[in-house]
């Protein structure tokens, strides 16, 4: 029987060999070579347009299916589900007291009323029904369906045709796109490590910097293609320059790849072990990035000193920092940590907004690990985002670091169409500080015994 199979064996090997060669050639021609030169065939944009049409059709089918059965569809609303009064604590309690009293109170009602509790009660229950913070730490809900199981809320309304389409989608995504992307990712990272190590062997000088720039850009572009990221850059004239700090809102680790494929930055971060560590150590050979040991991260002065030393050297690349400190779900911008705004240099704000229809870009680090997240990203349709380079800002006279940080944050939020929040992104994991509750108590106490008894406290959070 053995001799019978031999020719088939040979045939199989030949076929495999041929398909591999074809595969790699296609890869090289359509993806890697354009990445090296920074050009694009436009295939990805065509792909994106086709997908949008398909999603639109899918949503219509679901709505039609639901109407036929006379069911109601679950429609998510990201702007909040309840009406909140924009009145302050003082105004509302005064109104409650006024409505309940037969006396003519005039301007000053300084006495406790049992009805005061209604204010706290209602605010409390409002925040239970819908609050501004917790929903920023989970993925945004979509209004139309994008043929991914992970974002469907109306299972029972899927017709046969839609299921077939979804099945096709799964085949395409997991059978074709995922292996392609994983190959590219490995190629990109591998090339990055190897080439930066080679460039690192050169003596410092203009050649080295030039080559390092080219190498970094090329490898990041390959990684961009590994995610099928379709990025639109706006206002490139405001791109960060040497000696500055680039700040951006943070949604996922992919932010780095997106920004670094369009310009060269010095990264800041903690040295990791394993594969990340290898990549980090290789990168720093070619151009100066700022990596900290785990022990050094806690030392704020050390961090600030290294950052300022870096920006003073005008030959070094602009630093890339994400001041939120953690990943937020791209519907809002949360508190910026003031550390990077204390260094007296130009800040280049960048706003990044992902299109949620193509992939859930937000990394919920409490739910998924990094590898799981990357696999999810690579098995989504695409990563579509817009990057806006905002005009550079400097700290003004009489403005402290916190105010400067808030000004930059407001500009980024406005450009990206995101909600500007004062809450700390750290609330993802940590409890809120007691000082905020004490502010509320102070405000209320003033209403009971009059203003003369207090030093005016700085109200950090405006609880409207």
């Amino acid at each position: 029987m053995g001799w019978f199979l031999l020719p088939f064996d040979n045939l199989l090997c030949m076929l495999l060999g041929i398909s591999f060669t074809v595969w790699f050639t296609l890869l090289l021609v359509f993806i890697i070579v354009p990445a090296i030169f920074g050009v694009s065939f436009g295939i990805r944009r065509l792909y994106m347009k086709t997908l949008l049409k398909v999603f639109g059709w899918a949503t219509l089918r679901i709505e039609r299916g639901a109407k036929e059965k006379n069911h109601l569809i679950y429609k998510p609303y990201s702007n909040g589900i309840i009406a909140k009064e924009p009145m302050s604590l003082e105004e509302e309690i005064k109104e409650i007291r006024r409505s309940g009293s037969s006396r003519d109170l005039g301007a000053a009602s300084q006495e406790f009323e049992m009805s005061d509790i209604f204010y706290f009660c209602r605010r409390g229950v409002e925040s239970i029904m819908d609050d501004e913070v917790t929903k920023r730490f989970s993925a945004e809900e979509l209004e139309s369906w994008n043929l991914l199981t992970r974002s469907n809320y109306n299972f029972q309304h899927i017709s046969l045709r839609l299921t077939v389409l979804w099945g096709l989608g799964v085949l395409v995504r997991y059978g074709f796109l995922l292996p392609l992307r994983v190959t590219l990712a490995f190629t990109g990272v591998g090339l990055l490590v190897v080439l930066t190590s080679i460039v690192g062997l050169l003596p410092s000088g203009r050649t080295k910097n030039f080559l390092s720039e080219k190498v970094h850009l090329m490898c990041y572009r390959i990684c961009v293609r590994a995610l099928t990221a379709i990025i639109t850059y706006h206002n490139s004239e405001n791109k960060p320059k040497n000696g500055g700090i680039c700040v951006a809102n943070h949604t996922s680790p992919i932010d780095v790849i997106i920004l670094a494929s369009d310009g060269c930055y010095a990264m800041v971060g903690q040295i990791h072990g394993g594969l990340m560590g290898v990549i980090q150590r290789a990168m720093v050979k070619a151009c100066p990035h700022i990596w900290f040991e785990r022990s050094e991260v806690k030392d704020r002065h050390l961090v600030a000193k290294r950052l300022s030393d870096h920006v003073e050297d005008k030959t070094k690349l602009p630093i890339l920092i994400f001041p939120e400190g953690t990943c937020i779900n791209n519907t809002s911008v949360m508190m910026f940590k003031k550390g990077s705004f204390e260094i007296g240099t130009t800040v280049y704000p960048v706003a990044i907004k992902y299109d949620p229809r193509f992939a859930e870009a937000f990394w919920n680090s409490s739910k998924y690990g990094m590898v799981n997240y990357l696999l999810r990203m690579m098995s989504s349709w695409a990563v579509v985002c817009s990057v806006w380079y905002l005009p550079p800002m400097r700290r003004e006279e009489g403005e402290d670091a916190v105010q400067f940080a808030n000004r930059v944050k407001a500009a980024i939020a406005r450009q990206g169409g995101l909600v500007d929040l004062l809450w700390d992104g750290g609330l993802k994991r940590a409890k809120v500080k007691d000082t905020f509750k004490e502010e509320q108590q102070k405000l209320y106490s003033k209403m009971l015994v009059g203003r003369e008894n207090y030093k005016p406290g700085a109200c950090i959070i405006a609880h409207k």
Partner: protein
């Protein structure tokens, strides 16, 4: 977020909750999505920690009292029905309900039940009376460290004096209702849905 919201909640359950609380179908599914997103342990019930994770509630001076209102006596977990039952108190009173025939049980969001919710925030030991001590404790929660014991004491005394009618130095629910008879409870203790 509660990604399978409308499928895990069965139609019959939604109907039952609708009857009991008066919320609409879409409001119930939306609140169920909210419930599941708060339920970090994914076991179908909320604990006190789940509520305390909401920053805006954690900074509310009466946050703990409000959280307590969701949990029946002696229990540590609240399921979706209990959650909705408590939230139902804050449903706005619609016009067609105001003139309802008093033969059925009173709806959860009636004026009286709204006042009862507020009363229970004051009544710490659930004995249906607000004693001077309980009033002092709640006042202390609301003002923090900013008012002295004596001042707070006199505020409490004055309040009880004005409200107490049967001379037992505490405020019963009926006395509570009387004090607040002119307040627009329907509006101040209602939360409007946008959709």
């Amino acid at each position: 977020m509660g990604s399978r919201a409308s499928t895990l909640l069965r139609e019959e359950e939604i109907e039952e909750i609708k009857k009991e609380t008066g919320f609409s179908h879409s409001q119930i599914t939306r609140l169920y999505s909210r419930f599941t997103s708060l339920d970090k342990g994914e076991n179908g019930t909320l604990s006190r920690e789940d509520f305390q994770r909401i920053p805006e509630l954690a900074i509310n001076p009466l946050g703990d009292r409000i959280i307590n209102a969701f949990f029946p006596e002696g229990e540590d977990q609240v399921n979706f029905r209990g959650f909705m039952r408590t939230l139902a108190h804050f449903r706005p009173i619609e016009d067609n309900e105001k003139n309802k025939d008093p033969s059925g049980t009173e709806p959860l969001n009636s004026r009286t039940n709204k006042l009862l919710f507020a009363f229970r925030l004051y009544d710490l030991d659930r004995d249906d009376k607000i004693s001077r001590d309980e009033l002092l404790q709640v006042l202390r929660m609301m003002v923090g460290v900013n008012i002295s014991d004596e001042q707070l004491g006199s505020i409490a005394d004055r309040t009880i004096q004005e409200a107490d009618q049967n001379g037992d130095n505490s405020i019963s629910f009926n006395e509570f209702i009387k004090v607040l008879e002119k307040v627009d409870v329907e509006q101040k203790m209602s939360i409007r849905f946008l959709h």
